[in-house]
């Protein structure tokens, strides 16, 4: 292995061979407003030109989608009954406005929402009131460099539109339970969500991404566009816990105006192949983005976190902090990027990724990147990867803990450290108990393995 060429970040693999996911241009919905048809066509042409991203594409260097070609996916047609049900693995939040989606289509929406808050199906809105969507849909996210995001634009069918009017503060969190289901055969789906917070609005959006029991392979390729007007504040807390046959790709693009705050937290514990890509643009001074998260992976799991924060104007701040625990056969990827544009003076951007490798065959790939064009900035990044600290382990064992318990405690503490950056409350508690459950499951597996 002396050949260690770095791969090409810009050159996309131009495949003439169509992947099974790519639709025939004629198949695109015909009776739609012109702007929407244009959006779909543009998306399709990007996807057709670039194809399914390969590891030769820098942004997908460590996440290989080649396996998708072997699965005979069919496009989800929305035929599944609502009864596909709420996944048992979703977060249990008693005090929340819950919205359930099956394969990206809302099937249950809360009956009472405070004044100034609207939660509707995207498909419904496109049919009844397209003008309300037009200024936002496909306008916030620039997907010209994102083949999978572009494919979503071409194929999106439904999703949720959340609007919170200026000055309105939501009392309880909105809880989006997205269930993927494929009882008969492998399905792919392309949910599209839109979140608009008016000036000074305040909301907490929780997402649970889970799979219905007994599902065949699913591929969810979601795009979420978020706009935060001046002084708006959104807490976006995500629990990614789909089943072992789920491929879950998510691209979130958030645009922040002056003084807006975006606090995201992602906890990934499930799925076969998960990619959470967040792109945040700080467009107004005083805007602040916090992208925190944790992941725990076991055999056969691959989780990719790709973050890009773009400091486009002066006086903006951002913080990326991710911690991951990877067990036997798991593979973790963290790609973070901070861009500071010319003249975006006094930007403050931090980035930190820490990974704990629990076993011989665990793999972690990290690429924390800084791209800076202004001089009066404070930017730093850090990354560590390695095994458990033997001193800490010794300390606990010296105090009478069995080795397995001591290890479990340290793993928990490692993840809790970042989970605790979620504001105190039921969501944080639910996250902490999910980590505990994951840890217990890991334990159980170890026990079985040694028996």
């Amino acid at each position: 292995m002396t050949q260690t060429r770095m791969t090409d970040p810009t050159r996309a693999e131009t495949t003439t061979e169509m992947s099974p996911l790519a639709p025939d241009p004629g198949a695109l919905a015909a009776d739609e407003p012109g702007w929407l048809a244009d959006l779909r066509r543009a998306g399709l042409s990007v996807y057709r030109a670039r194809g399914l991203p390969t590891v030769k594409v820098e942004a997908w260097k460590y996440t290989n989608l080649a396996g998708l070609k072997k699965i005979p996916f069919v496009l989800d047609d929305g035929s599944l009954p609502a009864a596909a049900g709420r996944g048992a693995l979703a977060l249990a939040l008693a005090d929340a406005h819950e919205i359930t989606l099956v394969n990206g289509r809302p099937v249950a929406v809360p009956d009472s929402l405070p004044a100034g808050v609207r939660v509707v199906s995207l498909a419904h809105l496109l049919e009844t009131e397209p003008a309300a969507v037009e200024p936002h849909l496909g306008r916030l996210a620039d997907l010209s460099d994102a083949p999978m995001g572009s494919l979503n634009a071409a194929l999106m069918a439904d999703g949720v539109v959340i609007q919170v009017d200026a000055g309105v503060a939501l009392d309880r969190p909105l809880h989006l339970v997205t269930v993927t289901a494929a009882p008969d055969q492998a399905r792919h789906m392309h949910p599209r969500h839109l979140v608009i917070l008016g000036e000074g609005a305040d909301a907490t959006l929780v997402e649970s991404r889970v799979t219905a029991a007994g599902a065949a392979e699913t591929l969810s390729n979601a795009v979420t566009e978020i706009r935060l007007e001046a002084r708006a504040r959104l807490r976006h807390l995500r629990f990614v816990n789909p089943g072992p046959d789920a491929v879950d790709l998510d691209l979130t693009e958030a645009v922040l105006a002056e003084q807006a705050h975006y606090e995201a937290f992602g906890l990934t514990l499930g799925g076969r192949l998960v990619r959470n890509e967040s792109r945040v643009r700080l467009r107004g001074s005083g805007a602040d983005a916090r992208l925190h998260g944790a992941y725990g992976l076991r055999a056969g799991q691959h989780a990719d976190t790709t973050l890009i924060v773009d400091h486009a104007v002066p006086d903006t701040t951002s913080d990326q902090l991710y911690k991951g625990v990877v067990d036997e056969g798991g593979k973790g990827v963290f790609q973070g990027k901070v861009i500071v544009r010319r003249d975006a003076q006094r930007s403050d951007g931090n980035q930190l990724h820490k990974a704990l490798l629990l076993s011989r065959n665990a793999e972690v790939y990290t690429k924390p990147e800084l791209e800076i064009y202004a001089d009066d900035v404070k930017c730093s990044h850090g990354a560590t990867a390695g095994e458990m600290d033997m001193d800490q382990l010794f300390y606990l064992m010296a105090r009478g803990l069995a080795e397995a318990d001591a290890r479990a405690l340290l793993v928990e503490a490692f993840l809790d450290d970042v989970v605790e950056s979620v504001p105190e409350g039921p969501v944080r508690d639910a996250f902490l108990s999910a980590v505990r459950a994951w840890q217990a499951g890991r334990h159980a597996v170890t026990w079985e393995g040694s028996a």
Binding site: M1, Q345, A362, T366, S380, T384, G386
Partner: protein
């Protein structure tokens, strides 16, 4: 990329027989412009190379034809026409060179003066045709003799091909294979000269080997190839380049450097690169696209790269260490300064294969004017790299608000017992530090040089003594005009 009829005709003309016919001595100064198999045969014949080497060159060339120029680096330059260049030129006739320092660009002389370079050396660097044997050459001759007595081989690579074919055949291309990357492959096809060093078993080379000592073979051209072999238990320190700006007419430099350290051996490779960076507007200047790689083959071996990069219009360079032997150590210390319109995409790769391998990366990037600089580094922990350690620190300093500083680290961990740590910061010269210096009567430019030297201290300290002193001065000079 077929040869043009013109080229074919001209080759036929000079060689007497088209194809395979380059055995006779020819008077021509240069091979015709362009690149094709005949040119490669021509170069090989000129150097009276053995058959296997010609085959190797041709293999590289054929592979090169299938490759495309890399575009992933964060640098931009107009496309290079590889057919519009001479790939072989005999050592320059002294007639074209300036006759005395009076004919040399006064700007260049001013820099020499600031660096405190002796007059003789100034003449040498500026390419003045001096027929008389000057001091450094005689010094060089003495040194060479002494080295030979101790069994150290230090010569040009063409000479080594003739005199030590076994060593060359064994090691050439064993670290950077002919198919490695676009520029290294091009180099493999057309390299004209470079240095060869072999340090025998158990010997600690008593002096720093420097290209200074190979002065009579200075015209090594744009496709340099260096191969250094440190046999078991030996030590060698090699200095490449010099602090003074060199007169150089070649636009594209695609060099390859290969290092091999066997059991318990250590190689310290220091570079000060100060080629012409182009004018303030970014016109002209050297493209420095270099592949440098060292293999720590043996147990407990060590390779240390130190580089001070202040020159060239575009730099594309990643000195790397492949840590194969157990307990081997790789180090990379770098200071890169870009000013005006310079662009540099530089860094390192540390590939940990053996057990308990350790690597350390200290990179300091300073960007001023409208320059763009990227640190790009890879740390890879292979599954068998038990107990391996890496520490990386890369700091960037921006001077002015029109420049860019980027950091692109790649960290790949595939062994839980391997520890990787990466830290990076980006900042500018603090107003407080500057104010403190100004208040004490230090002029602004000197103050900046002082602060930047402090920033780079960790790296400059690893340079051999005299080099370090010169490099410090160079840091100040490179940043001239970037403040105020």
């Amino acid at each position: 990329m077929a040869a043009t009829q013109d080229t074919i005709d001209r080759i036929a003309e000079v060689s007497g027989a088209y194809k395979y016919g380059f055995v006779t001595e020819i008077e021509s100064e240069k091979a015709p412009k362009g690149l094709n198999e005949d040119i490669i045969r021509f170069i090989s014949a000129k150097k009276a190379e053995p058959e296997w080497l010609l085959d190797w060159r041709l293999k590289a060339y054929r592979f090169w034809l299938t490759m495309s120029e890399p575009d992933w680096a964060k640098v931009g330059y107009p496309p290079i026409d590889y057919q519009d260049a001479y790939y072989y030129a005999a050592p320059k006739s002294k007639d074209d060179a300036p006759k005395s320092l009076d004919e040399v660009d006064p700007e260049l002389l001013r820099t020499y003066e600031k660096l405190g370079i002796p007059l003789r050396e100034q003449e040498m660097l500026a390419g003045v045709a001096v027929d008389a044997v000057f001091d450094s050459v005689s010094v060089a001759t003495t040194y060479k003799k002494k080295l030979e007595e101790m069994g150290v081989i230090f010569c040009s690579i063409s000479e080594a091909v003739r005199r030590y074919p076994d060593l060359i055949q064994k090691y050439l291309g064993s670290i950077v294979p002919y198919s490695d990357n676009f520029f290294a492959t091009l180099n493999s096809a057309v390299f004209t000269d470079g240095s060869f060093v072999y340090v025998p078993k158990g010997l600690r080379c008593p002096m720093e080997l420097s290209t200074y000592f190979r002065i009579n073979e200075r015209d090594t051209g744009q496709f340099e190839r260096t191969l250094i072999i440190a046999d078991a238990g030996s030590y060698v320190s090699y200095l490449e380049g010099c602090t003074a700006p060199q007169r150089d007419e070649n636009q594209l430099h695609a060099a390859v450097v290969e290092l091999v350290a066997l059991d318990d051996a250590e190689i310290k490779y220091s570079t000060v690169q100060n080629w012409y960076p182009g004018d303030a507007e970014g016109k002209g200047g050297i493209y420095n696209f270099v592949t440098k790689r060292g293999a720590c083959r043996g147990r407990n071996s060590k390779i240390s790269w130190t580089q001070v990069e202040t020159g060239s219009a575009v730099t594309w360079k990643y000195p790397s260490c492949v840590l194969q032997g157990d307990n081997s150590v790789g180090e990379f210390y770098s200071v890169a300064i870009t000013n005006n319109a310079q662009q540099a995409d530089t860094g390192t790769k540390m590939i940990h294969i053996g057990k308990n391998t350790r690597s350390r990366i200290i990179s300091k990037g300073i960007s001023a004017g409208r320059a763009d600089q990227t640190y790009r580094g890879l740390v890879r922990m292979m599954p068998k790299a038990e107990g391996a350690r890496n520490y990386t620190q890369c700091d960037s300093l921006l001077i002015g608000d029109r420049c860019g500083a980027h950091t692109v680290p790649y960290i790949e961990s595939r062994n839980p017992t391997a520890q990787v740590e990466h830290e990076a910061t980006t900042s500018r010269i603090s107003d407080d530090q500057l104010f403190y210096c100004l208040q004490r009567g230090i002029p602004e430019e000197d103050a900046v040089a002082l602060i930047v030297n402090g920033f780079c201290k960790e790296v400059l300290q690893t340079l051999p003594m005299e080099f370090a002193v010169e490099a410090q001065k160079l840091v100040g000079i490179s940043l001239e005009g970037s403040v105020g």
